[in-house]
Symmetry: C2
Subunit: 381 residues, 2 copies
């Protein structure tokens, strides 16, 4: 048994020239990160000179990164690296909430926020969005949701806002949510998986008690790796030291990213800090792209004008084409792929999301032209 294993040994990735997958645009490695990947690829390579705490390793300069650059970048008193934004959220919920508590979260929350709450034994009270076409999350909804839990004699252990959310790329009024949470003494976690590393976001300025980010999603890192930042007060609980094992943080099981993904995050960090300064250009490109799509009859959902590179579109026209097209609903994927574009899930036509992050204006013009040509080349239903 255990035969035919060679199929695992040399797998090539099937990827097009232009990738518009929102999940992947912010996670493309920099040349420096690629270098780090090879230099630090071997298992446990970062631990050569560890004296017992990963976050205090001086060679490579992990300590400088985790205790210096990273908290400053996040606007947090303390920061750590984790296996990803979802693992950061679970760590915070598990450390700060009691089983049976409630978490208030936006109705646009990523599924992993729901899973983190479920894993920690917490119930969820949603702040509903306004629905199509805006899917807006009103900050006041957080006050209502907290009251709803209180009326049920429940305890609100945490509030979470997805900033922006991963479906519509909407940026809610995070500061207003923070104010509401603070009025009620509820720890406020900002899920910045699509923000940290793409756009300026500062937990202190917003008033977020906890901020989480994703290396592979938005910090040009090899996955899995994420970050968590917290106020000094909450950091004491989240990064609590073991009662029996010296210097080992319980919620992180001692060390988290004991390998190359952390070094890719560090290697990309100078580029990431720099690219965040050019966020306005990214927003302009996204808006220009959305205009082009709407002129083809493909409608942007969510915030208008849009404030993020992640965009959700509704395309009746593509759906109509799919009814008659040779490959049915897979025509869009195939046609785009033929033109060197990937990132929209195979089979989607009526609703899909994409990202313009880090693509040049020429590349975005090319993508728009591709949509135009595809529409022109198919008979409508």
């Amino acid at each position: 048994m255990l035969d035919n294993l060679e199929k695992f040994a040399h797998i090539k990735r099937d990827i097009a020239r232009i990738n518009i997958d929102p999940l992947q645009r912010g996670g493309l490695l920099t040349p420096e990160a690629k270098e780090a990947l090879i230099e630090w690829g071997d298992g446990y390579s970062v631990c050569d000179f560890c004296a017992g705490s990963m976050d205090h390793i001086k060679n490579p300069p992990i300590e400088d990164f985790i205790h210096g650059a990273l908290p400053e970048f996040l606007g947090a008193d303390e920061a750590r690296v984790t296996h990803g934004a979802r693992e950061s959220k679970f760590a915070a919920m598990h450390a700060l909430c009691q089983k049976g508590d409630w978490v208030v979260m936006d109705g646009n929350a990523h599924y992993t926020t729901v899973l983190a709450a479920e894993r920690a034994g917490l119930s969820i009270e949603y702040v509903k969005s306004t629905g199509a076409p805006d899917y807006h999350i009103p900050a006041e909804g957080y006050a209502d949701a907290i009251m709803n839990v209180y009326e049920r004699k429940g305890t609100v252990g945490m509030a979470v806002l997805t900033y922006p959310d991963g479906n519509y790329g909407n940026l809610a009024d995070a500061r207003a949510v923070a104010d509401i949470c603070h009025d009620e003494n509820v720890p406020f976690l900002l899920n910045g998986a699509y923000a940290v590393g793409r756009m300026p976001v500062n937990a202190r300025d917003i008033g977020a008690d906890i901020i989480v980010g994703s290396g592979h999603k938005s910090m040009a890192s090899c996955g899995p790796v994420g970050v968590i930042g917290a106020t000094e007060d909450l950091a004491r609980s989240i990064f609590k030291i073991s009662s029996s094992k010296k210097n080992k943080e319980v919620e992180l099981l001692g060390c988290t990213v004991r390998g190359a993904p952390l070094l890719t995050m560090m290697a990309s960090f100078p580029t990431v800090v720099e690219r965040v300064k050019h966020w306005e250009e990214e927003v302009l490109k996204a808006r220009r792209f959305a205009e082009g799509m709407e002129s083809l009859g493909i409608e942007l959902q969510g915030d208008k004008p849009h404030n993020h590179d992640l965009m959700f579109y509704t395309a009746e026209i593509l759906y109509e084409i799919s009814q008659k097209a040779k490959k049915g609903r897979f025509f869009l994927y195939r046609d785009l792929k033929e033109k060197g574009i990937c990132g929209i899930k195979a089979g989607l036509t009526k609703h899909f999301k994409l990202s313009t992050f880090g693509l040049s204006q020429d590349e975005l013009d090319y993508v728009l032209k591709a949509f135009e040509e595809i529409i022109a080349s198919h008979p409508r239903a």
Copy 2:
């Protein structure tokens, strides 16, 4: 602020030609894994064709690996990849035990087993080792430990055996422990972080209900990545599906290793399966090496004859040298480094561990000669 970031961009690793660090010998990448690292380095690269469950992705063939090759290799009904052995242990404890339960574990247990239990809110009852020089864990100790908990009216939620342990490389009688646990209806977890990928180990043959392994420690993978295998019955609990999010496993927060480390594990897998077949040679090399060390007055602790490449030594002679040596207790690290050898922690002389895994006989002879020369070149206290 956030200046002087370039220091994070091009960090080189300071590593010698021969690395005898037990933590790292089994995690050296194969050429295939290095290839995979570059091919799949970008964030979320493995998710190009995901339909909602990472373990069922067909391109790359993750499904074949996780639902075919891996459980067969582990001797488990079901398997998953995780962020590492510690994360596997926590997932199992968190899913199967109730807060306040007891975990029975060997006194040689890795600190992360203790942290996993602490994070899950469990108390620990240790099976003591026999102490120096054997540090043997008697299987009957598990029966006693379980009884101790019962006498306190406690519930034993799980028993863990570290196989081998990470200090002495001792292999306890895992089958006998399994029998005792089964008699008491206690789920038995085998921590094979230093076994899976190095030596033949099969959960079914041993009678382990759960087995965990480490990719970066023993499966030639880029960290962090680990594995967990379980019986069908326990897998249902550990890999339970979310009550609200379709197909998403709660304890794994949906997906775990969403990046290149998983692909390095898959790429190295054919080599790993093959190298396990040559375990007897590894044991012979280790024994030969231990003989050489003992002839220099450096004493092997733990199982004798030894059955694993991880070995713990006591070296009074090196300690004596350190009392007079120029660099004090750092002389050994420096002297070995000058001879192209690394992997013993800087500052250790009297007690240290090392591994012979995957080193050629010539290389091991060279290491022995280095110890001999170092001893000869220093005056004794």
